[in-house]
Amino acid sequence: DALLGCHRFYRSRPTHGIGKFKYLLPKEVPKRRKEKVQMKEIDAGTEYQYGDVNIQMTSYDLCLVEHFAQYVHRLCNRLSIQVNESYAMPTKTNEVLFLEERGSKMQLDAVLTTHQRVVQIRGLSSTFAPILLEIIQSNQPEGVHLLVKQHTEADFKSRLKSRPELEELLAQMS
């Protein structure tokens, strides 16, 4: 009776693996959790090396600034400079109005969009920095404004959405 009531399936028996079905179903990709936006540590750099440096390119022309940012990124890859991130800053839209010659009414001239791309590099040596700046300057296209500066927390915070309720409450608390 004990032998008949046994439910174990041996590997040699034909009933081995009976009841399994998960191998028949399509494979499920594990759901990726949304990564929290956290500020990475800012490298200050040593005496002979610059820390995190932001190369910011601003222009009214989108394609031009995109291509220039790609060029700078590839240049840094070629010169084996570590690139932390390469991201875009939010676009700013400006309405340009001008005063008509005869009349006091402001007339709409154009709607301009300003685009900005940032390439963040780390570990730029002090001797190579002027050479890199020289190369980027000589390849700078028309209408693209270049700004190279150290990375700060304020730069990172400017990419995040503002939270007016939280700020209000914090102001009330203190």
Partner: protein, 191 residues
């Protein structure tokens, strides 16, 4: 005794003033007008409790808001407007003759060669710059050690570095631009 007599002497003159002010319930002196003892203490206790409760509520709200992670502002560049993905916007290009396509391919090859030469020249220039810099630093080290150390250090005045791109045409002399203004209409995103 003399104090009371002096009080009674200036009381009639001061009474009129006291009666006109609405802060004063009676025409008598300040210390006899309002019951000073019991009420303010009660007020203090209730105030303290209320304030504490308010502060706790605010702290809870702040904690709840801080739990949510900060979000990045979405970039409008990477979102194609819907009007560009309409099916009616399809171009029909004319067919190319074989001579034309041949000409185009040969032109492309010439352009590739030109760009390759340009790129190689740039790489050579960079290499030459770096080599000459290293040689100069070597010579400087042989000259004096402390000058070499000072040269190796990083330049604090280098960043921030700003430069406007070159322009197609120089600015027109004596150009009088019309008056106007710029309004920033960027969409503000809040969390």
């Amino acid at each position: 005794l003399c104090f009371f007599s002096s009080c009674s002497s200036w009381l009639p003159q001061r009474v009129a003033l006291r009666g006109s002010s609405h802060w004063q319930n009676s025409l008598l002196e300040l210390r006899t007008s309002l019951p000073v003892r019991a009420q303010p203490k009660k007020k203090k206790k209730v105030d303290v409790k209320k304030e504490q409760a308010q502060k706790d509520r605010m702290k809870k709200k702040i904690k709840k808001l801080e739990k949510a992670a900060p979000e990045l502002i979405p970039i409008e560049d990477f979102v194609t407007p819907l009007k560009y993905s309409e099916s009616s916007r399809v171009r029909s290009l004319p067919a190319l003759s074989p001579e034309e396509s041949e000409r185009r391919v040969l032109l492309l090859k010439k352009w590739c060669l030109f760009k390759q030469k340009q790129d190689e020249a740039e790489k050579k220039a960079i290499k030459a710059l770096v080599e000459s810099q290293q040689e100069a630093l070597k010579e400087l080290r042989l000259e004096s050690e402390e000058l070499y150390q000072a040269a190796i250090r990083r330049d604090e005045g280098l960043f921030p570095f700003e430069r406007d791109g070159p322009s197609y045409t120089p600015p027109l002399p004596g150009y009088d631009p019309p008056e106007g203004k710029c309004i920033d209409i960027t969409k503000v995103y809040t969390q």
